[in-house]
């Protein structure tokens, strides 16, 4: 790919010279790591479910391949195309979510999935990036002082999405969407007072969920007071980290993982802890932190408010999802159904993340040789 000449003005060439290559590299490393970790974590689960040992590995390889293609494909889109796709995709996903509520099967007490052939589609996963970008579009419209009640419109949209998520009910996704949305609002200039108020009402919302939704209540109860209920997953996760120690038991040598529910999905981080040890976990965390910090830092000198808000929202969504998943694995957060991006097994969430990451790359494309505020001619002259 390095072979692209700078004189080559083709789509591919322009993509290569403008895309954030650091970000791209980190994402590719992450996808490869995910493939490798699924190889160690999923056979035990597959055998427990009576499937071929490599069942999940084969499917995950397919998903990851698809994800990489998606990342590359989406990253080629222009900013305006991203905006159009999201703004148009948003109502489609909202409709699908309503459809989910109406016709989706209830699994483990929640209706989140739509059955399409052999795949189960979780519309809320795809809704997330579209919602983030749409919110960014709405919020960016008031940059420049135009008299548009963008924050109110964004709030109405948020209320709609959050309401649908609560109805499913999907507590984790609601928290994630809410946190990303309020951060976007804050970046867009919402007074700190309002941000603080939103934080308080967020806590109030959690309290309300605790009071009204039994499964949320039981999860929080279990987290706060382990004796009050079944803490099997959390216990096993802790046991896995302790079994692994600093250096791990070795690939495939995990013992606790055999009894860890959702070892290949929500609890894959604990499996990494057992088999590769705390040091490998830290390296993985650094990889995630690198993607988040690199992405956000890259936006600090962004001049376009829409691109800044959209990319920041997508990166925050990615980073928060990571932190929540890892926090649950490390038993510092109550159990939630949230996957570890590109590492956990799962088609729907991974494809949605691939779209998100692809859009991050698409929105952060820039000519690294042109500094903001510098006259290009002057820059040229200086050469």
């Amino acid at each position: 790919m390095i072979a692209f000449s700078r004189n080559d003005n083709s789509v591919m060439s322009r993509w290569w010279w403008t895309v954030d290559r650091w970000m791209l590299g980190l994402v590719v490393v992450l996808v490869m790591t995910g493939l490798w970790l699924t190889l160690t974590a999923s056979p035990a689960v597959a055998e427990r479910l009576g499937l071929d040992a490599l069942h999940f590995v084969k499917r995950q390889t397919m998903f990851l391949g698809l994800a990489l293609v998606t990342v590359f494909g989406v990253s080629m889109m222009s900013t305006s195309l991203v905006r159009r796709v999201c703004v148009l995709g948003m109502p489609v996903m909202l409709l699908l979510m309503v459809a989910t509520l109406l016709i989706g099967p209830e699994i483990k007490g929640a209706t989140r999935w739509l059955q399409i052939g052999s795949f189960t589609l979780q519309p809320s996963e795809f809704l997330k990036p579209f919602f983030v970008v749409t919110t960014a579009w709405i919020l960016s419209s008031q940059f420049g002082g135009e008299d548009i009640p963008s924050k109110r419109i964004a709030t109405v949209l948020y209320g709609l999405v959050a309401g649908l998520l609560v109805l499913q009910p999907d507590f984790g996704q609601t928290v994630l969407i809410s946190a990303v949305w309020i951060s976007q609002m804050a970046i867009a200039g919402l007074p700190i007072m309002w941000v603080a108020l939103a934080g308080v009402s967020g806590l109030f919302g959690v309290g309300l969920a605790y009071a009204l939704l039994p499964h949320v209540a039981s999860r929080i109860d279990r987290f706060i007071n382990p004796e009050s209920g079944d803490t099997y997953q959390a216990d096993k996760a802790l046991e896995a980290f302790q079994s692994g120690g600093l250096l791990g038991r070795g690939p495939g040598e995990g013992v606790v993982k055999l009894h860890l529910p959702d070892a290949h999905t929500d609890y894959i981080f604990a499996v990494v802890g057992e088999e590769f040890g705390a040091i490998a976990c830290i390296l993985l965390l650094l990889l995630f932190a690198g993607i988040v910090v690199r992405g956000l830092a890259h936006l600090l000198d962004e001049e376009d408010p829409f691109r800044m808000l959209a990319a920041a929202g997508l990166i925050m969504q990615f980073g928060l999802q990571t932190l929540i998943n890892v926090g649950v694995n490390l038993v510092i957060l109550p159990s939630k159904g949230m996957t570890l991006p590109f590492i956990s097994y799962g088609g729907s969430s991974m494809l949605a993340l691939a779209i998100g990451v692809g859009m991050i790359l698409a929105l952060t494309k820039r000519n690294r040789f042109i500094r903001p505020g510098l006259d290009p001619i002057g820059w040229k002259a200086a050469e």
């Binding site: 222009s78 420049g144 970046i187 302790q242 600093l246 070795g250 965390l285 001049e303 925050m316 494309k365």
Partner: protein, 577 residues
């Protein structure tokens, strides 16, 4: 460099504010604030990741707090400290331990419980397939599969190559003599806890970690034990008896030298053993032992001077007391001297003698002899004697008890009492432990003179009376036969007998009591159909004496006939007198 091309690219508007925004100033300030907040978000994320890293390190380091096993190694329960050996008086090993391997599984490492259990059941067919499979599927880190495998089974399990199957070294209790001393040894459970015999009685001492190298030395002599068991087993078979019991007892130390109860069991494998096999007929069983009890009646009467060897009683016809008739098994139908009453085992004479001793005198004497309390021997399987309560111990009880009916004691109690009669008059409690100093606590029950007289009478029983078949040439055996009818449904069954012989040798200086008992023996052609003690049990004692006297240090000698002259002349054993 074609930078201009990039600058003109409408999608590359990074440094060019949107054209539709006229006023640049608010955009600039809003963007500056956005940058500040974005920076804050970045810091928050960095903090979040640092918290996660910190927690990961904490959990990863926590392993050091407790020792962690590495792959291929697992925590094994501590190997049990060995149980002390049990040896006989000569140092022969009666119970020891072998190292064996017990199989357990780390079920967390089982991948295919069904296949693994099929493999295992092929090697250990005694295991149930369903049971093994459920254990292997349990997901537990430690499940016992089978205890104490043979080396071949262990090799076969290892050959399966399944890392989930592991072994724990254990010690297995082994009784090299098998069933030979079963009722003395008792047995242990799979975890090595004593459940019977001395294994149970000395549980604390045998399992004491500080004394596990210090063998428990019993008073038993396995050579004598073997001879006694062999003779009893033969007699039991010949006479088709349902059970047999025997005892060799050192009258000077109170040591039990041999103790046999049949049927017995193999303490190495107690699976499927019946309660009858476990029952110790010597210490646990209490029987109406019949005429062997006359020894005590005579000893008390002679010791208290109530009768002398010169006296006698009328035994011409059965004695009628109320609705009871007391008759003799070997009726002479004449006046009998005291030695004759003993030698011919006359119930009629003995009952009259007991009446002269009196009820209180009889009870006090039996109490003194230890007949009314359980033996203190070092076994848990000790039966309590049965006898009438004081208010029911009436005249008729006194008469029947005088010849061993209406009172039930264990053979061991009888042997201890007989030993006290023949050893000079000291009652020494029975013990199963070698070098016990229990004989120092002996209590006097009769005078030495009476003891001497009793010895002469006992010898006469063999020389001229009912126990001629007990005479082991050269070993001066004395004793008393006993033939009791077993009570059944409230009355005595004439066909079901407890036939016994309480032997003592050598009679001129008594060293050992040898007791033999057959439970429901049948007469044979050789015994002319008789199943009494003199015909069935006395020969056992003779054979045991012949086989064991050389081992016990008793030399055969010619007998000083003058010693028994005084008694012998008072016994007229001519037929048809």
């Amino acid at each position: 460099m074609n930078a201009a091309a990039f600058a003109m690219d409408p999608t590359r508007s990074g440094y060019v504010p949107s054209k539709r925004r006229g006023d640049e100033q608010p955009v600039r300030s809003q963007l500056d604030m956005a940058r500040g907040r974005l920076f804050a978000v970045m810091i928050l994320f960095l903090l979040g990741f640092m918290v996660m890293i910190g927690r990961t390190v904490e959990l990863g380091m926590r392993e050091n707090a407790r020792p962690r096993s590495f792959a291929g190694q697992i925590e094994v329960p501590p190997v049990k400290v060995g149980r002390a050996d049990i040896r006989d008086r000569n140092g022969e090993i009666m119970a020891t331990n072998l190292r064996t391997s017990s199989l357990f599984a780390d079920a967390t490492q089982i991948r295919d419980a069904s296949a693994a259990s099929h493999d295992l059941v092929k090697i250990l067919p005694q295991l149930s397939l369903a049971d093994v499979e459920s254990k292997l599927a349990s997901g537990k880190k430690f499940v016992w599969l089978h205890r104490k495998l043979t080396p071949r089974q262990k090799w076969q399990v290892n050959a399966l190559g399944n890392p989930a199957f592991r072994f724990e070294e254990e010690e297995e209790r082994v009784y090299p003599h098998g069933r030979l001393a079963s009722h003395i040894m008792g047995y242990v459970d799979v975890d090595g806890r004593g459940l019977g015999g001395v294994e149970h009685f000395f549980e604390d001492r045998l399992s004491d970690p500080d004394r596990h190298k210090d063998a428990l030395k019993l008073s038993i002599d396995m050579r004598v034990q073997y001879a006694l068991a062999d003779e009893l087993e033969t007699a039991r078979r010949v006479h088709s008896a349902i059970g047999a019991a025997g005892l060799v007892f050192d009258v000077t130390t109170g040591e039990v030298v041999a103790l046999v109860s049949l049927p017995d069991y193999d303490p190495n494998d107690i699976r499927g053993v019946s309660a009858d096999q476990l029952f110790n007929r010597v210490t646990q069983g209490v029987y109406e032992l019949g005429s062997t009890f006359k020894t005590f009646t005579f000893a008390s009467a002679l010791d208290q001077g109530i009768v002398s060897l010169d006296d006698g009683y009328d035994a011409t016809k059965p004695l009628v007391v109320g609705r009871f008739r007391i008759r003799d098994d070997h009726p002479k139908s004449r006046y009998l001297t005291v030695p004759e009453i003993f030698a011919f085992s006359s119930n009629i004479g003995t009952a009259q003698m007991a009446l002269d001793v009196g009820t209180d005198g009889q009870r006090d004497f039996l109490e003194k002899l230890g007949m009314l309390r359980p033996s203190t021997v070092e076994l848990t399987e000790v039966g309590a004697p049965m006898y009438p309560a004081p208010q029911q111990w009436k005249k008729i009880s006194t008469m029947t008890i005088s010849y061993g009916h209406g009172i039930a004691v264990s053979p061991l109690q009888l042997a201890v009492g007989t030993a006290a009669i023949v050893n000079g008059g000291r009652l020494i409690p029975a013990t199963l432990v070698a070098d016990s100093d229990g004989y120092q606590n002996a209590t006097r029950v009769i005078s030495e003179k009476t003891s001497h007289t009793m010895n002469m009478l006992l010898r006469m029983v063999v020389k001229k009376g009912t126990a001629g078949r007990a005479d082991a040439v050269g070993y001066r055996v004395g004793g008393k036969t006993g033939t009791a009818e077993k009570p059944a449904n409230g009355r005595y069954n004439r066909k079901a007998l407890i036939s016994s012989f309480m032997g003592v040798f050598p009679m001129d200086d008594p060293r050992y009591v040898v007791f033999a008992l057959l439970d429901e023996p049948k007469g044979t052609k050789e015994t002319y159909g008789f199943a009494s003690g003199g015909w069935t049990a006395a020969p056992v004692v003779r054979n045991v004496v012949l086989r064991t006297a050389p081992l016990l240090g008793v030399a055969p000698e010619g007998e000083d006939e003058g010693l028994y002259q005084q008694v012998a002349m008072k016994i007229n054993d001519k037929k048809g007198h």
